[in-house]
Amino acid sequence: MIVRKSDEMMILRSKQAGFLFLAFGLCALELAGCAPATVNKSPTTTAHEDHDHEHEHGIPSHKPKTLTDAVGQLVPRWKSVTAEVQAGHVEHVEGEFTELLDIIRWLPELAADTDLKKAEWEQVQHSSQELETIVLALRSSRGISNSEDFDTLAAQLLRLAESTVSPASESPHAATEESVESEPHHSAK
């Protein structure tokens, strides 16, 4: 059988391609060290498991459950950091600043978990941005605080939060199969 030079090259290169697969096989073997995630946990779960799910999702412990909770924490936390900054204990309040900023940034998300309409939600978003600016200004200027504006915005947010039904204030009725049934058909407008 006559084998042409180009055919020989092709055979050689096919062998090289075979080596490519072998190389990837060996590389992949290294990956085999990846441990499988736990599949089945014991059915006897405890209360801290709910916390575990939250931890898995990176939900920090200082995250409020509801908008009302979050808004309620704003003024006391603000007063605390302001007092510390004015007393010259700047280095002690970095953690408190971070937590206060976190709570302010969570406000739009918590507000979306209520019955607030679009215009009201956008008001929460806007207030959250303004509050963030005030807190950042305090942190950077080390002492000059705009407490009046902060209090006014916090009071507006409290009014909005109290006007709506937030998850915690709703009746914690247990879901039944009927309650998750499909909604009645909505005809297209």
Partner: protein, 518 residues
Amino acid sequence: MEAVGWGIVLRVLQAGLQAAPFIFTGLCITGMLHRLMGHRHTRWLFGSNTLASLFQSWVIGMLLPGCSLGVIPIVKQLRKSGIAVGTIFAFALSSPLFDPLSMLYGLTLSKPLTILAFAFCSLVVVTISGGLFDWWFPNTEVTVDEPPETPPGIKRLLAVLVVMARETASGTAVLIGCGLLGVGLLTAMLPFASLQNTMGHDNPYSPLLMTSIAIPAYATPMMAMSQLGSMFQHGNSIGAAFILLAFGAGMNLGLLTWMVMYYGWKKTALWMGLMLIVVIAFSYGIERPLYPTDIEPANHTHAFDTYCQPFAHGSPLPHGYPAEIWRRIRLETQPHELAGAAMLACLALLGMGLRWLDQRWVIETWLNQRSEQAADATPPVWDIVVPGPVLAGIGFLVIVGCSIAGCYAYYPSPEESLEELNLAKTEALGSALSGEYPHALHWIPICESWNRRLQVGAYLRHGHLSDYHRMKARVFRDKLELLEHMVEDHDPPEAIRHQVATTTRVFSRLAAAYRQEL
């Protein structure tokens, strides 16, 4: 061992079905390039051996829908047309990264700028590596005779079909098989759910781990984009996300095998080395600037489960592995994937039939023959002969147009998405309540998918999506994901019931927001 074997079968079948429509599109493009454009006009369209040609190839690749398996017949055709290897690789890498469906999906993620940055980075990657490669190896253009012209009319269209059929039953199928083999190899090596706690933003090795997974992996542009979305949502490494897009969607073992076979080991290794250096350098460079600041990183994700073994050890299936594979394929396969697979099967049959027929009669001889009657007759004035390249250009525009029109079908109106989401939610939450956990775990990802399609559908029809609507969808997604983990971990029924109630309430608010305030 049995679970691993059947797991490979399932993953290869899933990848093959997902790739089928893209492979069919790739074959259409190959047929048109070969019989309508010809080598000369193809070289004009893509350019060759210049920096401009790298940009041209990137733009064409971005416009045409494709995946890394569907691009194989096209790159073979580009080589035959005498195009330099750097330009071919630029097209091969950029074509599978984005298509209109995945681009829209990406633009409605919380940080659309990241997706645009990824697209720009891909252009820089192909320009640097392609430019350097063509500079080092300037003589990679092969000379192949121009195919004989086919007379206009039905014969010309038949000739395109014949090219498609022959390509399906040729070495292309073997190369596609090699790509799918890479998927099987990865499945064999990655234990069930072994990537759930990986790819963290704070882990400096995340981009490197992703590189070793993404090269043999296969992902359609849409799948890669949804995984990217999940990575952003979970606060995973942005560098790893870019590598997933560049190598997971853009590369596979079939394409690498083609490079080794036609350009040799050395050139392929050099190209891969260049790519790895540029892509990995980019991935570390963008990690901090593009990392979203408003995300609480989660140390758990299901985004990469699809690359791992699908069956857990020690959890026997009541009806056996084949029945489970059949059940999953039946449930997960989309109509367009089935249509693609059916058309590929027809083309393969036709291709094999033509190969058998070649011993007696070569169809191309008849196709290229001008009928004597037509040659003698004077054509009517209105019978204009459209040149092949014009016809091919129209064909490409139709493909791009169809993929844009397909967006409206894939992302229906918010009203329609909400109805589908409502049905999926009822299945998911109902089965979580009644303790049918596998059923719930099947329907929760479907809910998440419809939740995304709801947002993209609204964006597509209104030109924008407000922060309010994005946030409503995000809250629903978070509740669903928490429920998914509770179901997976077999939490107490009381806790699951409470989560179901919360999720139902959040859905009602989501539906009201999209129905009344859009």
